[in-house]
Each structure stands twice: as C-alpha cells, then as structure tokens.
Symmetry: C2
Subunit: 531 residues, 2 copies
Amino acid sequence: MERSRRLADGKVVAADDAVKLLESVLEPGDRLCIEGNNQKHADFLAASLARVSSDQVHGLHIVQSNLALPAHLDVFERGIADRLDFCYSGPQGLRLGRLVAEGRVRVGAIHTYLELYSRYFSDLTPRVSLIAADAADAAGNLYTGENTEDTPAIVEATAFKSGILIAQVNRIVDEVPRVDVPGDWVSYVVEAPKPYYIEPIFTRDPAAITEVQILMAMMVIRGIYQKYGVTRLNHGIGFDTAAIELILPTYAAELGLRGEICQYMSVNPCPTLIPAIESGFVEGIHCAGSELGMERYVANRADVFFIGRDGTMRSNRIFCQLAGHYADLFIGSTLQIDLEGNSSTATLNRITGFGGAPNFGSESRGRRHGSKSWLQAGEEANRGRHMPRGRKLVVQIVETFREGLEPTFVERLDAWELQQSFDLPLPPVMAYGDDITHIVTEEGIANLLLCDDLSEREQAIRGIAGYTPVGLARDRAVVDRLREKGAIAYPEDLGVDKRLANRDLLAARSIKDLVHWSGGLYQPPTRFRNW
Amino acid sequence: MERSRRLADGKVVAADDAVKLLESVLEPGDRLCIEGNNQKHADFLAASLARVSSDQVHGLHIVQSNLALPAHLDVFERGIADRLDFCYSGPQGLRLGRLVAEGRVRVGAIHTYLELYSRYFSDLTPRVSLIAADAADAAGNLYTGENTEDTPAIVEATAFKSGILIAQVNRIVDEVPRVDVPGDWVSYVVEAPKPYYIEPIFTRDPAAITEVQILMAMMVIRGIYQKYGVTRLNHGIGFDTAAIELILPTYAAELGLRGEICQYMSVNPCPTLIPAIESGFVEGIHCAGSELGMERYVANRADVFFIGRDGTMRSNRIFCQLAGHYADLFIGSTLQIDLEGNSSTATLNRITGFGGAPNFGSESRGRRHGSKSWLQAGEEANRGRHMPRGRKLVVQIVETFREGLEPTFVERLDAWELQQSFDLPLPPVMAYGDDITHIVTEEGIANLLLCDDLSEREQAIRGIAGYTPVGLARDRAVVDRLREKGAIAYPEDLGVDKRLANRDLLAARSIKDLVHWSGGLYQPPTRFRNW
C-alpha cells in the first residue's frame, strides 16, 4: 500500500505506472473483479493486469460478469489467475473451454448477472476491482455517462469491504459533468491511453428483417400482447423482437393498441425502438447500458429514458434486470428447444454462460403485486389448483430451422453433451420448460399454460415445429384437440392475415429510416451507413 | 419551481418552510414517494406533507415501501392523496383497512420491496421523493450512515427521471463523513427539528428464548444446515431464528460445523448474531439496514460487515434482498400454514402487506450457479424429472400452537377471508407451498421435497402438526411411510437429544451476555437494559 501511494499523485496514477500499481496492490490469491459488460470494458486495466509479473502476482480468483477480451484469458494463460466465477464469455468461449480442459482455469460457477452481483455481497466480494468510467476529477469522483451498467454493484461491494477500487477513465477533468460514483469510494484513477472500446451490439438493421419474422411479430401482438394486455416487458435483442418493435406503429396501432400494450420496457436503447417511441407507443424505458449512436436521441427524450441533470442517460443493469424480472413478459430467441420446452443457446466446445436471459426468462415467484397480464396468465396456469397465483409470461420466438438449416426443435439439447465435456453440475439451460409459457414459430403459437401434462406440452411443441423431424412426428389428433382448447394457435386462429406479412408493415425499413424517425438525432456507427 | 427556488438558500430550505416548499413543488395528481423503511423514516417531511393545503395539493399517488406513521395515513384522510402502491403497513394496517373500506384510499397493489423498487424504474417512477439522511452539506451531498436502506433505489429513480428529491437530514454540516448520495442528484435539503426516529426492531432478548425454540433450533442445525451444508442464508427476525444463532457457538461447534455452515448471511445486524461472529462461525454479513445499539460493534468488525471509509456501516436493502434471494436458504416464522404448505401472516381486518419475506422465501428460478446445498436439494426435488435443476431451501419454523393457543396449522388460511374483505386479486400468501421445502415444529421436520404429490404433502404436514386438529387428523400409516422415506423426521431420527434442549445451550442467555460477547461495544437501548 505504501508503494502504491508513492505511485499516485493524490488518487491519480499515470498510465505508464498501471502495471506497477497493480503489482503493488495485489496479493497472491486475491479476489479480483475486472469490469466487463456489454458496452464498456476496463480494457486498459485488463491489459495491464495481463502484464504484471506472475512471480509477484499469481493465483488470483477472478469474479467478473463478462469474459470478452483476449487479456481476460491471458491472465490465466500466464498463471496470474487460476480461479474464475463469471456470467458470460461470448467470443472467448472457445478459448475458455480449452483453458478449462488444460486445467489452467478452475471455474467456480457460471452465473446470471444478478446472482454474481449478489455474491459480491456475500462470499465473492472482490478485494480489488478494476472499473471503467468516462471521466474522473482529482478527488476520484467518477462520471460513467450513458454506460453506468455494472459499475454501481462492483463499486459498492468493493469500496465498502475495505477493498481497493481502481478506475480507468477516458479523461481526467477539473469537474465531472455529474457524479456517478462518489470520489471517497474510489482508491485510484488512471487516464487510459485511449477511450474504452464500445461495440454497437444492440443495433439491428431493419433491412435484414424477413417476412417470416414479420408474420411471427404479428402473431405475438395479437396472440400474446393484445390477449393479455402486456404493458411492462423486456425484449431480447434479435431480429425477431426488432420486427415486433417496428410493427407497433403500424399493425398494432391499426388494432387500436396504442396505450394498451408495450408502454414500459426494460431494454437497452435499441435503435429499432425509435418509431415506437416517436409514435407514442412506448412511454418509458429503463436501460441496462447504452447503445452506440443513440446518445443524442436518448438525451432528447428525457420523458421516456432515465436522464441525469447533465443531460445524458443513466443506465444501471441491476435496476433494469430487476424491472425486467418483475415485468409482465419476456420475449427472446434461442438456438435449441427440446420436447419439454427447455431451451439453450449452448454450442458444443464453447462455454458461453448465461448473462441476463435466465433472470428475465424465469417465473418471478417472489412477485406478489397483480397486473392484468399477470393475473390472466395465472388463471390459465392455475386451472384446478387450490391456491391461485399470478404468472409471468415467458415467450420464446424462433423459426423452426435456424441458420445452416439446423432444426431449432430437438429431442435432446446439446447442453447435455456440454455438461459432460466441461463437467458442469447441470446442463446449461437458458430457460426451463416449466418457466416458459409460449413458444412462437412461423407456424403458430404453443401456449404451454394450457397443457395439462408433459405429453400435451410435447404435442403442443410438435404442433408448431413445422417440418423439423420433431414437427413431422406430431400426433395429428392430439394437435387438433390442443388447437381446439387454445394450446396451439395458428395465424388464422388469431385473426392474423398472412398476406399482410410483408416489409411494407415495417415502420422503418432501413437504418436511414430510423435516422429519419429520430429527427436526425440517431447517429448510427459507420458500418451501418450505406448511404 | 420558481417559487420553491425562492424558499431555498442554494439547496438548503429552512424547516419552517417545509410545508411551503412541498406546496410549491407538488402538482395535483403527482406520484410521490415518502421514504419509510424498517429503520428510518422521513418523518418530518411526512408530517409536513400532511399539513399542506389540500386545495393546492390533492389527488397524489403515493408509492412507498412502508406505511408506518400516522402522518402517512393523514394525507389520505385529508384528501391530499388518494392512490397508494406500497409494500408493508405494520402498525397502521387496521387504519389503512378502514380508509380503504371508506373509499379514501385506492390501493393499486401490494408489493414486496424489490418489486416496488422495480416499478420505480418502470411505470411507478416518483416525480417527487421525500427521503431521510443523517447529514448533508450545502451542495446537497448526503450521508446516510448505517441506515442507507431504500435510499439508493428511491434516489436513483427520482433524480434520473427529472424528478424532485427533497432530503430531511439530522444535521447540515460543512463536510459529510462520506458521500452516500451525490449532491447533484439532490434538489433540496431540510434540517429537521429533531433526528429521524429509529426503532430497535431486530433486537431479541435471549432471556425470552424457550426450550422448545432451542429444540427446534437443534433440529434445524442437524436436519437442514448440516445435511445440506448451508453456507449462504437469510434468517427471519423471530426468537426461533435467534435460538439458532445462539446455539451455533455451542451445539453446532460441538458437531464440528464451524466453517461448514452459516458463513455468509444477508440480515440486519441482529444482536443475537454477536456470539456466532465472535466465535468465528459467521464470516460475512450484508445488511439491509442497521439496528439501534449495534453501531460500534459493527464498525469494529469491518472483516465481517460492509463498512465505509468513514468507519460506519453501509447498508442497502436492494443488495441484501438480492443476496438473500440467491442464497441457499431462507428460514423464518409465520402465523398460519395450510395443508398445501401455503403460509400467511395476514390477520383479519388488517392490510399488512408483504415486505421482503416473499422474495427471500421463494424459489430463485433465475438462478443458475451451483452450490452443494442447492444441488443436493435439487436432487431431492428432481426425482423422476427429466431436466435436473437446483433448488433453494425455504424453511418455515413454527410452534404448532401460537400465542393465545391458536393452532398454526389450519385447513383454510384467513388470507381467503382477507381477499374478500379488501377485494384483493389473490389471497395474500407470504410463502407458497410449492416454494417451501421444509416445515419445522417442536414435533419434527417435514421435508416437502420428498413428497410425491399433494396428498403426501398434506400428511407430511399433519405428521408434524402436533396436537392441533390438523395434526390429530393424520393418517398414521401414511405418516409412518413418510417417516421411513425421510419426508418426516423426528428428533430421534436426526440424532437430536431432546434432553440437551435447555437454556444452558445458549451462548448468551441475556442481553448483558451479548454485551459481554461484544467486548462492551454493543450498546443496547435502555428498554433492553435491566441491570
């Protein structure tokens, strides 16, 4: 500590001294968190950590959300760290798998975001955390701007358990635009040689939305949003849900559903939401993080988004995850669904982890407050049960075949094999069949709430599984019966006119249209500009 | 806003102007949060609100955790507010019931804490919030000291949705000991005429613990904590769980369980935890709030509690609730349990609400990370199921008869009548039978995980319900069979020697003993001092 103080001018440490700073504050075996989430990464500090002397610093236990950068795995390769508790690995999943197989990484457990944050306040409190912010002043006050994300959880756990908090910042300033983290919680700040890197991962180009996706979106709006009166919800980030967002101002508006559905969302500021916001459909959005290019547009809609007095957004993954968990509905896509409705995005040879989907995509059994949607879904679920209870809607939206003509519906999830290969305690299931209420495909909607037992659930799934082997093996008599009682609904049962399912229904058909809707405030990254 | 600015010297408003300030910032129909939680209340601001002109301010929609003070209901009596969304009403339950019956309060819904906070970030964002803190500086930086509690959730939602945040503080100082809420999030601060009131609600005098409670505590330790290896948990606040805490250093230590069970807790700093902390049983505690008299002791154990650089505790209900939700076990007491295992603390004529128990006492279906306890409980629950899953332990600990010789076990919960009287959408159930895994009475433990169906569950409950009518109506043959397969366990089945169940087993037998264990640092409130 003495040594680290000598490196610092007050709280400010020069970028060139970052490696030395880490060597002086870290003890072998320390628990360490490197901030890494969807938008921002403490990338400079992560790279610095990978360069410390492994004689001095070794055996670290890494507890962090997102393993995304090569440096995150370099620390294991070099023996600086050997234990890992995390949420999500994304592009590093393959390399992580190899390092685990080689015994260089011992994985404690794979978490969803809220679980890992919870353990920061229990048995996995970091002793040292490396975080990222937009700006700091000399007193260590941090400005995280639009991308607050995981910072509050990491900072609070570390700072209040006598830990050391080191922040890399894009710039050191005289006065921060607003204080997101009070300076007296922060140990050191380092101005990084370049700003932390951000990837526009929530941007979907409307030009790539297909008519099949539009058809599914129409079914979702009539068969689920309208039926239950869904007002508070969370959307996944695929093209399927982008299609729903883009037909709210057209299809849903014609059905008279403005002010009736989709008013409050817990999502990142996806550009495809702009037309629904501008046409008064979506009234409030709380975000886990930001999205590149959306800053000015978001700042201009303080009536919809959460904005600080400095005029920029405040995100916070904890509150976004919580609001989504207690919302009326989650809808997202997946890679595989089995005959019980269990779904998984696990791919062989990779350890990808969970992120936030299982939290959004599970029953909120601690919930007690009613809403129209929750109570109505509860009634469907409760048939014959003595003690009534509400129910969250958890919807999977998939095409029956995914890329490469792999069937989405399978007898057995790859997750089982993955469990074997990586010696996991359970197969890595993203959403469990008994948490899922609806599955939507281009063929129709299976309502699992209306299935009396596992065999009916299986047939309801087969009944919407199209020409996949699972779909072809349906029992036609049972499927007809399920359709009669509403456990299966095809477009014609929902009053959905398939002929309308074309791209004219999209409120925006290109990124340029989105810019137009935003009044020029949305500034898409270059890669999305083709004009 | 112009008018309110004129009342303020910078951000500071005189206490005498509090009513005028509220009249100037509030618009009819505004959504308003008055901070009120277990420990601290914005009591001065609540009283000021009750005094505003109802000609100027009326039709407010109150969105707050805890209705505890007469002033909280005066605002409805006076027509200043007419809508309410809340969590818990406690001592005001009876009066609230009357006001609802008279149509002066329209209740939106009754929530658990996390749900209501979630809605602050969705459809129930307050436009004005009245909060309480220990100290403020002229810039509005707030120091919440040990009792941070709900403040971060309220503050973040209000400040970042262009709302107005008014803090009452015990004192205005030149420099706050640490910054808990950054000043630029705060609109106004008012020094209250007297400090906010705190009630020592988590203090249980060991002198009142009975031998029956000690017997139940022994069964919990052998039959549940040891069996599953429970390391992360949440305790309720009754004498039953205090008894468990007080025999950790004696009974559990003799069983060799130090370092094996009860290492990490999410609870308030209950004084009865002191011996377990001092004897090295409990290693880490994160608190939702503080407890009167525990301040110095807690500050001295920065290795166990979360402590700021100013040397006092940092509490935060959100993280404590989350850590408890994702822990391995919750154990708490209740007033009534029915034959399905549904439990309720509802009492006729009162609307008491939920607080945090349903969140702690429900399955965490979004959880994905394994632990010994969670996986082992999952195996018991999964028998015969295709897709394995872990399981949280949710334990109810009750004596078969409660005060007034009312049986705890009933055929039908009073909650059903309450639903009728107050026109609630569902009966107010605290923990649902299918979330509960174990019920512990003085007769034994029912393990609901090992029951194959509802009829077995009913007999397992009857089998530990003693001499209540429910217990007397047991089917002895079924009960014997359930005992054979471990779904019922009596003390002798658990290796619990009933003769040891006496007060000699308590590590502390009085408040004075607790003070002694704490090395004189615990300073109990006067009412608990009888020496």
